[in-house]
Every structure is written in C-alpha cells, then in structure tokens.
Amino acid sequence: MSYGTTHERHHDDHDHKPTGLGRWLFSTNHKDIGTMYLVFALIMFFVGGAMAMVIRAELFQPGLQYVDPQFFNAMTTMHALVMIFGVIMPAGVGLANWMVPMMIGAPDMALPRMNNMSFWILPFAFIMLLSTFFMEGGAPAGGWTMYPPLITQLGDGFPFLIFTVHFLGVSSIMGAINIIATVFNMRAPGMGFMQLPLFVWTWIVTAFLLIASMPVLAGAVTMLLTDKYFGTSFFVAAGGGDPVMFQHIFWFFGHPEVYILILPAFGIVSQIIPTFSRKPLFGYESMVYATAAIAFLSFFVWAHHMFTVGMPLAGELFFMYATMSIAVPTGVKVFNWIATMWRGSMTFETPMLFALAFVILFSIGGFSGLMLGITPADFQYHDTYFVVAHFHYVLVTGAIFALMAGAYFWLPKWTGHMYDEKLGQLHFWLSTISVNVLFFPQHFVGLAGMPRRIPDYAVQFTEWNMISSIGGFAFGLSQLLFVWVVIKCIREGKAASEQVWEGARGLEWTLPSPPPFHTFTVPPKVDAATAHS
C-alpha cells in the first residue's frame, strides 16, 4: 500500500510551513533543522578547507614564503577543530535529523525544541572560536589535541577555545539524547530493533559514544582552564601535576570520538551498497554486532595515540593488542559490504561510486592504522606525515566520502529533483584522483622522516610535498563543483519519483519526493517489504 493513497489528503490540510527568517530561527521541524545542519557543515567545510589551502601553499616548497610559523600552527590547529567539530559531526547529525524519523516512521524527533537549541549553539560556538584570530596572542596554535603545557601559552584566545569546546559538547550531547529518545520511543509499530535500517543503528551507537565521551573532554579542558587562571596544578609538573594525565584523559575522549566520526559513515555506506547492488545487506546482524563491538573496544585503546610518552611494557602490550583486535570487527564490515555486492546486479550512480571508493580507501587507512597500532613500529611512525596520511584516509576518503555519498543518495528525496548525474560523476572522479595525489605521497615523506605540524622542511622532502600540494589545490577546487551540483539540482533538476532508486528499500522511500513538511503523523505499518533493505 503506497503512502500517497492513505496520507495525501491529511497532509494537504496541515502542510503549511512557517515563512521568513522565523521558519529557520525557531524551527522545531526535523527536516528544516537537518537542512540547517547540512548547510552549516558545508559552509564550515570551505572554511576549514581554506585553512588547508594555506597549509598546502606554505608546504609547496621549502623555506617560509607566506605565513609566520605561529600562524601556520594556528592553521593546522583550527583546520582540525573546524573539520572535526564543524563539518563531520554536524553533517552526521544533519543526516540523522533528516533521515532517522523518516526511516523509523516517526513524525519528528522526540525533543524538537532541544533539537533547535542543539543546532543554534553551533554557529555561535564557531563565531567564538574563529574570533580568536583577531585577539592578542592569535588563534589556538598548540594543536587540536590541546596538550599542556604548550596550550596554556596561548594568549587571550585561551578561554574562548575552552568555552567553545564546552558549547560544542553541550550541543553534541543534546543531539545524542534526542536521537536515542527518538529511536527508543517513536519507532512505527512492527519495527523492532532488529528491523532498524543500519544507518539508524550506527547512529544509536554513535549517540551513546557521544554521551560517554564528550563530558570527559569537557572535564579535561576545564582542568586546563583552572590550571591557567586559578592556580591549580592538574597538569603542571612544577606544582606536582602530571602533563601526561591530560593526554590519557583527552584520548579517552579522543578515541571514541574517532568512531563518532566514522560509525555514521559506515551506516550510510550500508544503506547505499545494497540499494545499488539490488540485493539485501549481507550479514545484517553481524553488522550490528560489529558496530557495537567497535564502539565497546574504542574505550580500551586510547593510549595508542601516545605510545611515545613512555609507558610500562605491560601497558604498551595491552594497548597494542587491544588496538589490533579492532581490526576484526572492522574487517567483518568490509567483508559484509563485499558479500553484499557479490552476485548482485550493480549500477554505478554517484552515491555508489563514492561508497565503493569509501570501501577501498577507508581500508587503506585501516591498513596504515593497523601498522600504527604495532607499538614498536609506532616509535618510528608516530608524529610523522605517515600519521597525517593515515587519518586523512580514514576521515577524508572515509568520513567525508561517505557523507558525499549520502548527500547524493538522499538529495533527490530532500529536494524532489534529481541531481545532474554527469556532473556528479565528474565531481567523484576529480575528488578521488586528486585526494590520492594529495594524501598518498604523505605516506612516503612520513616514512622518510618528515615530522607533522611543521611549516618548513628539509629539501629532500620537496618533490612529494609539491605533488601533495597540487593534489590539495585540485581537491579543494573540485569541491566547488559539489556546491554547483546541489544548486543546479534544487533549481532545475528533473522531478524525482518516490522511490528514486530502483533498488531502494525502506520507509523513507515510500514518502513523496520532496516529503511534505510533516510526515508519518499517522504511523505507517511496517512489514517485510518496508523494513530495512
């Protein structure tokens, strides 16, 4: 039974959107808030991207051509903060806002006013963070990891950095509570937990990770604040404190954070690959358990970010074994995706292309991650460009590529128009080629001995850095094409059908494209055909 026959009249009566600025400022609608999150993330993607361009321009050749080293350090620090907290996390929340209620057959998020607040904190938090560029002492330049004692040398921007982190934490925790409350309480009748689409599952797990880890970060940065201004010595060696303790606390947040960034990406890819293989997801249950296993293990591996601080042998062994064991559930996921494609009937539209690139390139990041997890080898790799290459493979060709895949996948549903397939594929090929030119050579310079976070380098690293910079500029420019694709899609794209993609399964594809302002005000009935694909 299609959605239209039962619900059309109902929505004709109630589908009046608020108008003007108030629609957005006071919005409690999950679709509008989702849109705002996504637009915000896209804007910040270019802000953080501009910083990356400054970094790559300075590293194009040896010598200092454009910026002071202090400003360079501010660029690397702010690039990371913006990309992590301003792009990947909000984009993930934006997709969850749009899709989770539609996927589980709920009319909206469980806590719509809190939803509004958790979004609107973000622009103010980032204005506060970016304002530090104009302050005495400049923007934070001690690395996004904020290690003391270095970070306490920051000037007037210091409290702004700390309070920005607090705001971002509050926003994330509220978003996480909202998602948990929505999924636990508002599933359509007949939709049990094991019928949830995998994107919803990955978001439940992510939400629990957020609630468990963000307060830890808030605590750590508050201790930094009191160390600098109120005479405490949590991390001050001269006062009996312990600078390494900060690193332990930070990474107890930081490693789950890594999975906060990547689990929703796993979810997106797990929706897309079955759709374009026209075949159900292979190993649904093991996917759910693997996600939960990764999340659980992520709390026991934090010290692999800091093997070189000097730990007892037993500690180094424990964290090495724990880290290596994460490869098992991650491997299961990759095998399941490939088994989903196996004997399918595949087509290669833009979302599928990004998803396939994700599987390969994320796996390459996974291999370098496994190498980094081997403690003795890490004594060489640590803090070199090998690490930079690793985390950009998992975060750019991993998280960002999955977000791009998701955007192309759901854009027709959101706007009611198809995007231009040729331009989408052009965007894909340009991005995929340039991103590898950008990051692959960084493995080489890292192994050959180039430390990370340096504005200038010895001349033997010149060639690879030049190639990397060229790839960087090309990747940056290619992303402008994405903006054009989105604008063109909204303005003049061909009308999209309800189902949009031939192989699409799930409740969201039973709604009209674009969906009316309020959907599923009467809960749909879930049966085998409408449950997860």
């Binding site: 200092l64 202090q70 000097g310 290596m324 190498m371 004594f379 192994l447």
Partner: protein, 379 residues
Amino acid sequence: MSARNLKLFAGAVISLLLLAIQPAWAEYGLNLPEGVTPISRNIYELHMTIFYICCVIAAVVFGVMFWSIFHHRKSRGAKAAQFHHNTTVEIIWTAIPMVILILMAIPATKSLILIESTGDSDITIKITGHQWRWQYEYIEEDFSFFSSLAPDSNEARQLRSGVDPATIDNYLLEVDNPVVVPVGYKIRFMTTAADVIHSWWVPALGWKRDSIPGFINESWAIIEEEGTYRGQCAELCGRDHAFMPIVLKAVSEDEYYDWAGNMMVAAMDAEAGADREWGMDELLERGEQVYSTFCVACHQVNGMGIPGAFKPLVGSPVTTGPVEAHIDTVMNGVPGTAMAPFGMQLNDVDVAAVITYERNSWGNEMGDAVQPSTIAAKR
C-alpha cells in the same frame, strides 16, 4: 563523458603522475630507513613484514571486490541473488583475521621487549628539550651544552628571507653543537623537558621518545656504524617546533674521549670569571652572543618581538624599568607564557651579560651594567 573517454582521461592522468613521480622515486626515500642500531633493524623488519601482510590482504579483498564489480553489474545482465547471510562464511572471516593478528603480535611483542631493555648501559646522556633547542648532559663526564639550529639555516628559514634553502647544506638538519657518541657502546638516553613537551627523534636509531617536563624517559641505542645521523623534534612545541633539529655523530672510541676531554675543559672555561667585576663592553659583547642564541627566536634581532605573540624589549617596562624586575623575569620566566626561566639554563655571567645587553641596545639607554655577583646572590 562516455566510458571510453573516461578511461582515456584516467589513463592520461595516471601516466602524467607516473612521469612526475619517477625522478623523485629514483632519488629520495620512500620507506623507513633501516637505521644503524639493533632496535632500528628490528623495527624495519617488523615494518616490512606487516606491510607485506597488508598488501596480500588488500590484493585478495580488493581482488574479490573488483571481480564482483566487473561481473555482477546490471549492464552485463546480472540478476541479483537474494541471499543475505551465511553463518559458516561469517565465522571463517572472523577467525582468519584473528589468526593473522596473532601472527603479527608475536614479533611485535619480541621487539617491544628488546626496546624496553634499557639496563647495563655504558654511557648516560640526559636530553632536555627547551623552546627551541636541545640540551645534552653527559652524566658520567659531568659536562653539558646546548645544541641549536645552525646559523645559516636559521637565516634562510626566516619568513621571505630570500635565501634558497637548496643552497644551504643540510637545511634545517644542521646544528651548532652536535651530540657525539662512540660506536659499539650501549648508550642510555634520558629525555626530559624544561618548558613544554618535545620529542627526541633520530630515525636511524629506530625510535622517538617524548621529553616531558617532570618526567624522565629512558631509551637506548648501540650504534653500529660511524657517521652523522640527523633528526628533528617530533612533538609540536610551539612556534619554532620545526627549527630544533638533532645531529648525532657516532665516532670511534678514541675520537669520542678526545672530544669529551675538550668539552670538560670548555665547561670549566665557561664558568670562569663569575667572581670578578666585568666592564660594560665585555658584558655587551657576551650579552649579544647569549641573546642571539637564546632570545632572538622570539624577541627578534631588533628587539621588537612579534606583535600578538612575543613582547617587544624596546622601551618595555621590564627592560627600561627597575633592574630587579628585569633580573627576576629573565631568571624565573613568566608562567603561562613562552618566557622560560633562563636562570636554569644560563650561568651567572651569561644572565648578567644578556640583561645588560637588553637594557643598552636598540635605543634602550639604561646605562647600568649588571654584575655576575648580583645574579649569584639571587640564586
């Protein structure tokens, strides 16, 4: 773009890339150096083993994936099967990675035990990281010295210096005073820091170790070949993190003891003169030397500092105010800023000289000469 055009385009891009890469491939390192110590060789072997295992796994997994992509496509008339799980297969592909991981963990554990065996050393060197130079203390011989970026690199690395780095020998990888060790001895390195966290790394030794205020970390090396080995600070430590390289010279036993003897004599000379009255001119001359080693990175040659980051010394309330406050600032630093307590790094003569220099340069005309005895009284 048609599929054919796309293939042509991709082919062209890849060929261009290969062309661009070729000369660099021939000339420069793409891989970890094998190094010159038992640890570094061990880690190199481990690194290559894991790398090859990863390559094999990648070839198998991606091979299956691409086979599927080429054969199970709708355009070739593939009809989708509808299977969605297979418990046996799932158990197998959970078990196989576990076995591979255990096989990797065994050599890794052995390596780690070797690396942590720091006992029975012949020579102990304490390494202290400062913003932005290294200090080496030879514990048995009782002398110490600072090691900073070489002057020619330092000049070339200034923003828009106009000097081509390619014309500098070992650009950014040369120091004024290298650390010298004998080959064949077990050397214990103890790393710590005075201000923020640094990390001491010479790739040829096989490891890096963080130098952390309030902590002492131990590492070791037996260097098997004479030579000069270069490295850099690996932990972000502020503005000039990129500019505190490490140069380690491994020499024969005889050469090492000659060098150490000279260093001990030089250390005694440096202490000389602390108890006599110094004239203005000699203080200014010594002060300029000290300033250009320890102060210039932040406060700059012209004493103007860097607006927003490092305070100027020209006409500042410290350098043109009461001398007591000036001495206090230099000796004890300013907590919460990059201004370190230099009383811990410099001897009485150097502190007196640099303060005198700062009060009587760049238009500061205080006219007072600070004596080493005044500094000694403050300790």
